[in-house]
Symmetry: C2
Subunit: 123 residues, 2 copies
Amino acid sequence: MATNRPEISEKENDYLAAHEDVVKRVIERQPADEYLYDLAELFKVFGDSTRIRILYALFESELCVGDLASLLALSPSAVSHQLKILKDAKLVRFRRDGKIIFYALDDDHVRTILSMGMEHVEE
Amino acid sequence: MATNRPEISEKENDYLAAHEDVVKRVIERQPADEYLYDLAELFKVFGDSTRIRILYALFESELCVGDLASLLALSPSAVSHQLKILKDAKLVRFRRDGKIIFYALDDDHVRTILSMGMEHVEE
DNA sequence: TGAACAGATGTAAAAATGTTCAAATGAAAG
DNA sequence: CTTTCATTTGAACATTTTTACATCTGTTCA
């Protein structure tokens, strides 16, 4: 039982949908592209094992760059680079104490997202 | 007030921690590297706007490759490649109906993770 | 002020990733 | 059994991303 195939609309509809009606309805309900893009950017930040390890370490305690470098067996420079990415994504915050800068998880969102992900992985 | 600096242990502790005691405690509580790695792999899958768009589309309805291609203005091949990644990560499942294969979100975990992420982005 | 140190940044090389195109599957209908 | 059509696969190419190394900034403390 073939689906109706109305003439192709003028839109940049490069590929034909087998079920145009459904497709149209779905399109209408999609969040703005901007949000989807930002969302992907956010998850991209979580998508690196070094950064995940940093986040999990900060899960336990605030730490300075040197501590993280030691803990992860990475150069302070490498850690700093990753921390910048985490900072830009608002996943960590920091405070200065004299010469040392302590990093910590920014909010509980981060904890929740990590936990949800871990649940999926543990299945 | 400088922290104690016991002689460097024989471990592959390439960089000195300013706060060895804290570092040790944190290390003990870290999940196995394998989990952290898998977790990063999972988030890596979410970290692409095409895949996010696919997931959000499937949020509304099950869809076949052609529908997704039309909806996203991508080639069926590109869509199929991404669906494979999503399948491998167990984020989507599929069923065959005659010649057509329908894809759907695999479980509510996916919905939850997306929602959590979106909350963070919307702030 | 300047030496010492923690951390940040620029950039180039190396590695991983996404999209495209062409060709291969594999189920279904004749 | 052959054709058709939806989907998958593989290789190539372009783009991003990660990492390493060197250099720079900024703070503390003598």
